[in-house]
C-alpha cells in the first residue's frame, strides 16, 4: 500500500508538470492551428533561466521564479512575432518547419551557453515529512500546489476576464473575432506569453528536483503532444486531466514493473485510449 501511495504521489507530481506544459501547448494550438513543436524547449529554457538566476546570480528561489516567468513570457511574445506571425497566411507546412527551426535553435543555444553536462539547482526546500507511511519531499509538494494554483488562476482568467475570453473567441472563430473588433495578433501574442510563462513556472518548480539538460525539452514536448491528443485536441480540461493520467500511469508502471519502460507505458496508454476514443477523452467530432 505504501509503495502504491508513494507512486501515486510521484505520479501526481509529474502529472502536475505535464498538465501545465500541455495546457500551454493546447492554448497555442487552439489559437494558431499549428503545433508549436518548440513548446517543450521553452520549458527547458525556463529551467536554465531559473538556474541562471539562482546559481549564477545567487538570487532566492521565489524571485528567480518570478523573473523566469517574465523572461519566458517576453520570449514567447518574441517567438510569436518573429517565427510564427510572418507565416500566418502561408501553408501550414511552413509553420511546421519554422517550429522545428525554433526548437533546434533553442536547444543549441542552451548547449552553447550552459554545456551538455547536467546542471543542478540547489533545492530550496529539501525537507521531507511522513504522511500515511509515505515520504513527501517539500519541494515535490510545492510542484503540486504550484500547479494547482496556476491552473486555478488560468481558469479564472479564461472564464472571467474579457481578455481571457478573447483567447477562446479567437480559437473558436478567428474571423468572427476580428469582426468584433478583437485584435487577433495581440491575442496571439498574449497567448504565447501565457503559454511560455506557464511552461517556465513548471520548469522552475521541478528543476530543483531533477538535473537540467538541453535535451529535456524534446522529451517533455513530445509528452505534451501525447497529452493534448489524449485529452482531446484543443480541450483545456482534457490537457489537465490527460497530464495527470499520464503522470500516474508512468509512475505506477515505473514503480511496479520497471522504471526503464516508463515511456512505453505513456505511449501504450495513448494507443489504448485512442483506440477506444479516437478523438481523445474530451475530444469533439470534427466539425
Amino acid at each position: 500500500m505504501e509503495l502504491f501511495l508513494q507512486q501515486v504521489f510521484n505520479g501526481i507530481m509529474f502529472g502536475s508538470t505535464y498538465a501545465i506544459v500541455a495546457l500551454g501547448l493546447t492554448l497555442v494550438m487552439g489559437i494558431l492551428n499549428i503545433p508549436n513543436f518548440a513548446h517543450g524547449h521553452l520549458y527547458m529554457l525556463g529551467g536554465y533561466i531559473t538556474f541562471f538566476f539562482i546559481g549564477t546570480l545567487g538570487l532566492g528561489f521565489w524571485p528567480s521564479l518570478v523573473l523566469t516567468l517574465i523572461v519566458l513570457g517576453l520570449l514567447g511574445v518574441l517567438m510569436e512575432r518573429i517565427v510564427y506571425r510572418p507565416l500566418t497566411d502561408q501553408p501550414h507546412i511552413n509553420a511546421f518547419i519554422a517550429a522545428i527551426g525554433a526548437l533546434i535553435f533553442l536547444e543549441s543555444l542552451a548547449l552553447v551557453v550552459w554545456g551538455p553536462q547536467g546542471l543542478r539547482i540547489p533545492n530550496p526546500y529539501p525537507q521531507n515529512f511522513e504522511l500515511l507511511g509515505i515520504t513527501i519531499g517539500l519541494q515535490r509538494l510545492l510542484v503540486i500546489i504550484g500547479a494547482i494554483t496556476l491552473i486555478f488562476g488560468l481558469h479564472v482568467f479564461m472564464k472571467h476576464t474579457i481578455l481571457g475570453t478573447t483567447i477562446e473567441a479567437v480559437a473558436q472563430n478567428r474571423e468572427g473575432a476580428m469582426l468584433n473588433g478583437i485584435n487577433v495578433n495581440r491575442v496571439s501574442a498574449v497567448t504565447f506569453a501565457i503559454s511560455s510563462a506557464t511552461a517556465a513556472v513548471a520548469a522552475s518548480f521541478l528543476s530543483p528536483i531533477f538535473m537540467l539538460s538541453p535535451s529535456m525539452g524534446a522529451i517533455l514536448g513530445m509528452k505534451a503532444f501525447i497529452i493534448v491528443i489524449l485529452g482531446g485536441m484543443g480541450s483545456i480540461p482534457g490537457a489537465i486531466l490527460g497530464g495527470y493520467i499520464l503522470g500516474v500511469i508512468e509512475a505506477l508502471g515505473g514503480g511496479y514493473i520497471s522504471a526503464a519502460y516508463k515511456d512505453v507505458f505513456a505511449f501504450g496508454a495513448l494507443i489504448i485510449i485512442l483506440t477506444v476514443k479516437p478523438t481523445g477523452i474530451f475530444g469533439k467530432k470534427e466539425a
Binding site: 475570453t165 478573447t166 468572427g176 473575432a177 476580428m178 469582426l179 468584433n180 473588433g181 478583437i182 487577433v184
Partner: protein, 236 residues
C-alpha cells in the same frame, strides 16, 4: 458616410469585384441585390477590411479605411454582421454578446444598456442567456449575430444575407428588427440580400450586383418595376 471608388478585389488571383463605386449617406437604408455568386459577400468583406482591394479606395466618414486592419475599422463604427454568422459556438449567448461589445470594453453602463436593448429586440436571447451559441437553430443564430453586431453601437451596419436559409416567419421578424435598427436607433444599414422582395420592401434604395459589377442602382420603387430586376430576383 461610406464611399467606394472604383474598387477591385481578387481572391486567389481571380477577379471577383470589378470597378464598383457607390456611396451611402448617414442614416440611409440601402440594399445590395444580386444572385448567388454575384460578389455580394466579397464586396462586404472588402468594405469590412477582411479582404484588401487591389485597386480603388474605400472611405468611411472621409477617412480611407481600405488599408486598415479589421479591428480598427470596427473601432471606427463600421461593423459587418457576416454571412454564416461567425459566432463563437462553444461560448454562451451572454459571452457572445459581451464579445460584441469588445470595442467599448470597460464601459460597463454602456454595455449593460446595449445588452438590454438587444434582449428587448430579441427576447428569446434573454431566455437562453447561458446556452451555447452552437446549439441554436439558424434563426436564433442569426438573431444572436445581429445582436452581437449591435453591441458596440455601430454607426453603420453591414448585414450580409441575414435571411438566407430561414423560415418565412423568421425572415419577417428579422426584417422588422432591421428596419427598427435603422429608424429607431439611427444606424445606417447596408443590407445584402438574394431575397429582393424582402429587401426592396424595407430599404430606401438599392444597388444591383452582377458578376462583380454594379449594373443598376436606384430607389426601391424604381428597382421594383425594373424589368430585369423583376425577372431575375423577384420572379414575377
Amino acid at each position: 458616410m461610406l464611399k467606394l471608388n472604383q474598387v477591385h478585389t481578387a481572391i486567389g488571383g481571380l477577379q471577383i469585384i470589378q470597378n464598383v463605386s457607390l456611396e451611402i449617406g448617414k442614416g440611409e437604408f440601402v440594399a445590395l441585390l444580386g444572385s448567388n455568386g454575384a460578389g455580394k459577400t466579397t464586396l462586404f468583406r472588402t468594405i469590412a477590411g477582411v479582404l484588401k482591394p487591389h485597386a480603388g479606395s474605400v472611405t468611411f466618414e472621409g477617412v480611407p479605411i481600405d488599408r486598415l486592419p479589421v479591428h480598427k475599422i470596427v473601432e471606427r463604427g463600421l461593423v459587418l454582421c457576416p454571412q454564416g454568422r461567425q459566432l463563437f459556438p462553444e461560448l454562451s449567448v451572454q459571452k457572445n454578446l459581451l464579445l460584441g461589445a469588445y470595442p467599448i470594453r470597460g464601459e460597463k453602463k454602456r454595455i449593460q444598456k446595449n445588452l438590454d436593448r438587444v434582449y428587448a429586440l430579441f427576447p428569446i436571447l434573454r431566455e437562453r442567456i447561458n446556452q451555447k451559441a452552437g446549439t441554436f437553430s439558424g434563426g436564433e443564430q442569426q438573431m444572436l449575430a445581429i445582436g452581437r453586431a449591435l453591441m458596440s453601437e455601430p454607426k453603420m451596419l453591414l448585414l450580409d444575407e441575414p435571411s438566407v436559409g430561414l423560415a418565412p416567419l423568421i425572415v419577417k421578424l428579422i426584417a422588422d428588427v432591421i428596419s427598427n435598427i435603422n429608424q429607431e436607433m439611427d444606424t445606417t444599414v447596408f443590407l445584402s440580400e438574394q431575397n429582393a422582395n424582402m429587401a426592396l420592401n424595407i430599404t430606401q434604395r438599392g444597388y444591383v450586383l452582377e458578376s462583380g459589377r454594379c449594373v443598376l442602382d436606384g430607389d426601391c420603387q424604381h428597382l421594383k418595376t425594373d424589368e430585369k430586376v423583376r425577372k431575375a430576383y423577384i420572379g414575377a
